[in-house]
Symmetry: C2
Subunit: 146 residues, 2 copies
DNA sequence: ATTTTTGCAAACCTTTTGCATGGAA
DNA sequence: TTCCATGCAAAAGGTTTGCAAAAAT
């Protein structure tokens, strides 16, 4: 969970101005505990009459991705979505039912990268790992229903 | 490397009709050894005057993804691209310089999935791993130039 | 003869851009 | 007061859809 303040602070630290639209988006993003699309963010801002324009949503997301506070996801459907995250490691498990996401830590991925480099001769520069599945509470809900 | 014939055969096996546009696309896809976008495929078909329409390109790619002969990639830039692949394992290393792709095998990913499931409690249903880096020949080319 | 597939063009959806205005430093 | 950021609306991409014609079975 990333706090609204952390996002605002990150804008500041990175040398961006603290504007009302950015504060508003920080709040909206922090309020989400799962992934969200740009459109959803825009819709939320419209719903609460925050008056943040479409372009600003995209521009802010770009900045946040740059800063490392938001990560872009590509859902299995091909849709683009985003999740807020701590600016360091980089893997999430996303619940395919409720959309909530959880940090997956390293879990041995570094070793996989080394192994792939060894086998293929490629010099690995970047990677993306996206995991989808049922979170514990959706599993429970599902078995309750059966 | 996937052959044109293998693709045509796969259409047949899966119960789709063997049409001229599909044969043509099979040839074009097999001719690519790196990743390609839908637009590039369309451009290639136009260039060779194969008269395959845009819609058919997208429709055929959808089918091939379904069958498992083509995989959708999301490049670090956010662009959608595709690669032909054997219909089983599922990881590629893509050269960030020339676009060529190579099979990365399993390399311990199954173990990572187990570890993530154990740590997070999620029941992992699917995952996507995309690796980007310099292929051996681009590495060589680069060091030659310095 | 029947059913699938196709090409075309238009519709759609998402993201980006240009530019004058407004706000932060 | 200077420069960055915003909103708007239009443009640009990329993908999908409706439909009548053409091709495969």
């Amino acid at each position: 969970m990333v706090s609204s303040d952390a996002i605002v602070l990150a804008f500041d630290t990175a040398g961006y101005r603290l504007t009302e639209p950015r504060r508003a988006l920080a709040r909206l993003i922090a309020a989400h505990d799962g992934h969200f699309t740009a459109e959803e963010l825009l819709a939320a801002s419209t719903r609460e009459r925050l008056g943040v324009g479409r372009a600003t949503v995209f521009r802010s997301l770009d900045i946040l991705i740059d800063i490392g506070l938001v990560e872009r996801l590509d859902l299995p459907t091909g849709e683009h979505a985003f999740v807020a995250c701590e600016p360091s490691h980089h893997h999430h498990v996303v619940c395919s039912n409720c959309g909530r996401s959880t940090d997956a830590g390293d879990s041995g991925i570094a070793a996989v990268l080394d192994e792939v480099a060894r086998r293929t001769g490629y010099r690995i520069e970047s990677h993306r790992l996206e995991l989808f599945g049922l979170c514990p509470s959706c599993q429970a809900a599902r078995s309750r229903r059966t």
